[in-house]
């Protein structure tokens, strides 16, 4: 509404009249903490675990190296030692190859020299009660429809995420039948459009939205919330651009067929993970003490971050329409 600029103009006028000065940070944090981030789920055999150092704000000069890292990944009490997968600017990524199913209890703990040990635990949620269908919406656009059913009557909000992964296969076959076919695979990132299925009258001028795109487990994911079951059949529509599978190169010696496959996944996300990924922090208003202090601490005991399981329903790999 047009009144919002009027109100904001008044507030800005007040702000313009104010004066500012720098001061010492009024904190004395007692050392650094570990920061861990992982989102284990069923239908994914590999869990990526990121670990890095959270530096006290009063001592901050840049990222800090970690040494003597110990990490343990447990599923229903059985331990698995994650392997170091990569290290980038003192962010250490570990992988744990353990298949999970709904109801599994996943625990992670980690330690490093000079930092308090951290622990976290989470259970794999049930998959969403849903149906999935698809149709060609327009030429070049596939429309995926999810109908999520809510009949539990709890009144509690549920949280979801939609992730789309794609692979492009360049399948090369030779005229010479003695030569073996070759396939080159590359991963695709989709720029798909999606709107919140819950019509909200919120005007997100303070920065908070009920739908957000974020990066989870190396994949782009759109996360959103429902209305606590008021809408019993939640319709979610995702439009995915596609290119027809076709011969890319046809020459005398060989032909290359370009085939695209994609995988649509719907996740049930625990509240703690949703609030962590979509925090309600408006730092200016928080600094003024004008909004409740939703600080999205995650669920890591002794440190920061999140280790929260997600319940995944996967469409499997689907070929494009021809």
């Amino acid at each position: 509404m047009r009144k919002i600029p009027a109100i904001l103009s008044s507030l800005l006028l007040i702000a313009a009249l104010s004066c500012e000065r720098e001061t010492d940070l009024p904190l004395k944090p007692d050392g650094g903490r570990l920061y861990l981030e992982c989102f284990p789920s069923n239908n994914h055999d590999t869990t990526y675990i990121k670990l890095t150092a959270a530096v006290p704000i009063t001592e901050y000069e840049g990222p800090k190296e970690l040494s003597n890292i110990m990490m343990n990944f447990r599923v229903n009490g059985d331990s698995f030692a994650p392997k170091l997968y990569s290290e980038d600017n003192y962010v250490y990524t570990y992988i744990a190859d353990v298949p999970l199913k709904p109801g599994d209890i996943v625990s992670v703990d980690a330690s490093a020299e000079g930092y308090p040990q951290i622990t976290a635990s989470s259970s794999v949620p049930d998959e969403a009660d849903m149906e999935m269908s698809r149709e060609i919406y327009n030429y070049g656009t596939l429309r995926h429809k999810f109908t999520v059913r809510r009949n539990d009557g709890s009144g509690q909000k549920h949280y979801y995420g939609v992730a789309i992964r794609g692979v492009c296969r360049m399948e090369k076959t030779y005229a010479d039948s003695d030569r073996q076919p070759e396939t080159e695979v590359s991963y695709l990132r989709y720029d798909y459009k999606m709107e919140s299925p819950v019509k909200s009258k919120d005007e997100d001028i303070l920065g908070y939205k009920t739908i957000k795109q974020c990066h989870v487990n190396g994949t782009d994911m759109v996360i959103f919330e429902d209305d606590g079951g008021k809408t019993q059949n939640l319709e979610i529509v995702v439009d995915i651009p596609y290119q027809q599978d076709k011969y890319w190169v046809v020459v005398e010696d060989y032909k290359i067929f370009r085939r695209t496959l994609y995988n649509v996944e719907m996740f049930r996300i625990p509240k703690e993970a949703y609030e962590y990924l979509n925090p309600r922090i408006n730092e200016s208003l928080l600094a003024a003490g004008l909004i409740p202090p939703f600080i999205s601490n995650g669920n890591i005991s002794g440190g920061y971050g999140i280790a929260s399981c997600m319940g995944c329903t996967s469409s499997g790999w689907i070929g494009n329409p021809i």
Binding site: M1, E22, T52
Partner: protein, 705 residues
């Protein structure tokens, strides 16, 4: 006679009115008051009662020339004032929306103007204000933290009188007098700001020579009307009306010319109008049956409302055709309460009994929005459901006095019904005092309080977009239990000391979490409340020095205020106005018969803010601030000195004129209102403090007649 006076005193406290006290019959009123106060249980025998008369309410520094009741109450120990200049009252760890504001017994929803800068109470018509922070009598209910019970003055039954005041940003007129001598009187007080009149010529200057005209302004308007009718010596009937209104407008209109086959004139632009406030009306009847029995009855209606409209016009000129489109959107919300209450007061040798009942119906229209295009075509007409609640209360209280020992024991029973939910809240109230000697009184109190209406406010500022909503089956009432004890001592003729301590717990403490918008989402508001617990405890000390010319006082508070919300943090955390220390020093000195000076120095520990404690760098995400605990840091301490001086003079016609000169924040301490953590150019985190209020000198002129 003593019994009659005692009855009067209880009645005075109970109904705020005993006799049609004449506004200008000051001496008579003072004498009566002294007699009454000497007969009743003194306010000092209560743990948390402050009784402020009009003199005390206007004695403080008038910010921008306007004396303010709530800013005087902010100086009282145990009260946190919140953000600077705002009319916040955070009593014993409570929230700003937990206070019961009664104007002549009528509850008000909206009590401040201009986002909380000024309160809606016009001091010209106020007789007294009773402020309770503990030891609540059983007749009060419906809010958790405090009671601000304001009584207005009846007009004189004898002769015409009044006053005119002019301040920097507003003016006030008060007129009172008899309509029918000794039977019917009126008292009317009006206040209006003239910020809009100040801004208008500035805007006109800017607009000169331009095709675009910008207009706008802000005005506050308060009116109080009190009609008093005394048909017999034992009866008094009052009709009272109050309206406190804020009006903000803004428009930007451009005159446009389009050249085609002919020249077309058209205008385009935007207009915004916002009007909000509170209106209240009541009629009351007080009857004294005998020296031992009196009755009061009251009908009232109160409405807090907000009315916001936008208008937008744009033009399109193509193919030599001018097409204009208009868009209008209006959004209306209100909270209404209508009630009837009656009470009976009986006086015996050792017992003063009071009992009463109250029925209150409240209905809430949180939002109704209409959108129109050109003409009368309604595009959308949407609104949330109306919410209706019923509150039935009964109370009984006995004030027993046996020699030096006094005990006020009361019980309030509330029945609350709304949206298929029913809540019953028995609320015991106990207040005891014991006169150890003639000069020393020990006192203690315990009470339970419940609150059935809750404020939906996206940000903690008093905005017209804030909405009151009732308790429902999902949003349960809030409950509070408080115990307090203290001791009052008159050390000498001049020195008085009052020390007390309190502990308070709050159950189902509510935070509205719908911070995604300035406009609370009224379609799912119940889900946006999160529930937690609160506790507060502390000690308060007041020392007063009273002599003929000099009055001085020091009020110190040592307090803790904590919250526990599982959705915010796993353990107890400090509240945002957990000001550990608070000290208010006031001094008033009458230099001559015509000149007096007043000084107030306020100090409190800084308000708490939430700042990041650690930093992490993640690939793809960048620098991320990490927060360990809500309100984990304290801003720099707050202090300021206010000075004021009053020059009294008799005019040639024998009227009194008063010049008031006030300086707010005399030594221009730039107190912080917010603190933000940022990364500076050297990639170092720094805290930046923002301050708003410098020194504010002001003056006002009052003529009494």
């Amino acid at each position: 006679m003593k019994g009659f006076l005692t009855l009067c005193s209880i009645f005075l406290a109970f109904l705020n009115v005993c006799f049609p006290a004449a506004a200008d019959e000051k001496e008579i009123a003072d004498t009566l008051e002294r007699v009454i106060i000497s007969a009743e249980k003194s306010p000092i025998a209560y743990t948390g009662l402050k009784r402020l008369d009009r003199k005390e309410l206007i004695a403080g520094t008038a910010v921008l020339g306007t004396p303010d009741v709530i800013k005087v109450l902010q100086n009282i120990s145990g009260v946190a004032s919140g953000m600077e200049l705002m009319s916040g009252l955070y009593v014993h760890g409570g929230d700003g929306s937990d206070n019961l504001f009664l104007l002549d017994g009528v509850p008000l929803f909206q009590v401040s103007h201009l986002a909380g800068l000024f309160s809606s109470f016009n001091t010209d018509i106020i007789q007294s204000a009773d402020f309770y922070k503990s030891g609540f009598p059983a007749r009060y209910g419906g809010k958790l933290s405090s009671v601000v019970d304001i009584t207005t003055t009846d007009g004189s039954m004898e002769k015409f009188g009044g006053s005119v005041s002019i301040g920097l940003i507003d003016g006030r007129i008060n007129l009172n007098g008899p309509i029918v001598k000794n039977k019917l009187s009126y008292n009317v007080a009006i206040r209006r700001s003239w910020l809009d009149a100040i801004i208008a010529p500035i805007l006109a200057f800017n607009n000169s020579g331009s095709d675009t005209k910008t207009k706008g302004g802000y005005a506050l308007f308060d009116s109080d009307v009190n009609l008093a009718y005394a048909p017999t010596k034992s009866d008094k009937i009052n009709f009272r009306f109050f309206a406190g209104t804020d009006h903000f407008s803004y428009s930007k209109i451009t005159q446009e010319k389009y050249y085609g086959k002919e020249i077309y004139d058209a205008e385009s632009g935007v207009k915004t109008n916002m009007k909000w406030g509170n209106i209240a009306a009541s009629s009351s009847w007080n009857h004294i049956f005998s020296q031992r029995l009196a009755l009061s009855a009251m009908l009232y209606y109160s409405k807090g409302y907000s009315d916001i409209s936008d208008w937008q016009k744009s033009n399109d000129f193509s193919d030599d055709v001018l097409t204009s489109g208009t868009f209008t959107e209006t959004s209306v919300s209100s909270a209404n309460a209508a009630g009837i209450k009656s009470a009976l007061v009986m006086s015996f040798k050792h017992h003063n009994l009071s009992a009463g009942i109250e029925y209150r119906s409240s209905w809430y229209n949180p939002s109704h929005t209409k959108v129109k295009t050109k003409g009368e075509d309604i595009m959308t007409d949407s609104g949330s459901g109306k919410y209706l609640s019923h509150e039935v209360s009964a109370f009984a209280e006995d004030e027993m006095t046996y020699g030096p020992f006094s005990l006020t024991a009361g019980l309030r029973l509330d029945g609350y019904f709304a949206d298929g939910a029913a809540y019953f809240r028995p609320q015991p109230r106990l207040a005891a005092s014991y006169n150890i000697t003639d000069d020393i009184i020990a006192k203690a109190s315990y009470e339970a309080m419940s609150q059935y209406s809750h404020l939906l406010s996206s940000i903690y500022i008093d905005l017209p977009t804030n909405i009151w909503m009732p308790s429902t089956s999902i949003v349960k009432p809030s409950d509070s239990h408080q115990a307090a004890a203290g001791i009052y001592a008159r050390i000498s003729k001049n020195w008085h000391v009052d020390a007390s301590g309190y502990y308070r717990s709050i159950r189902n403490c509510l935070i509205y979490s719908g911070s995604g918008s300035l406009f609370p989402p009224i379609d799912k508001w119940e889900e946006e409340f999160i529930s937690g617990k609160g506790r507060s405890y502390g000690a308060e000390l007041e020392v007063k020095y009273l002599s003929g010319k000099f009055l001085g006082s020091a009020a110190y508070t040592l307090s803790w205020s904590e919250r526990k919300f599982d959705e915010l943090h796993s353990s107890w955390f400090r509240d945002r106005f957990d000001n550990r220390h608070k000290l208010t020093l006031t001094a008033s000195y009458r230099i001559t018969e015509n000149i007096d000076i007043n000084a107030t120095w306020n100090f409190h520990s800084g308000n708490r803010v939430t700042v990041p404690e650690h930093i992490v760098n993640l690939p793809g995400t960048g620098t991320k601030f990490l927060f360990s605990e809500p309100y984990n840091a304290k801003m720099p301490d707050y202090h300021r000195l206010d000075l004021s001086c009053n020059f009294h003079k008799k005019t040639k016609r024998g009227n009194e004129s008063i010049w008031n000169i006030s300086i707010y924040n005399t030594y221009c301490r730039m107190n912080p209102i917010l603190m933000r953590t940022t990364i500076n150019l050297e990639n170092k985190p720094v805290a930046t403090i923002y301050s708003l209020v410098p020194i504010i000198p002001s003056f006002s002129y009052t003529l009494k007649f």
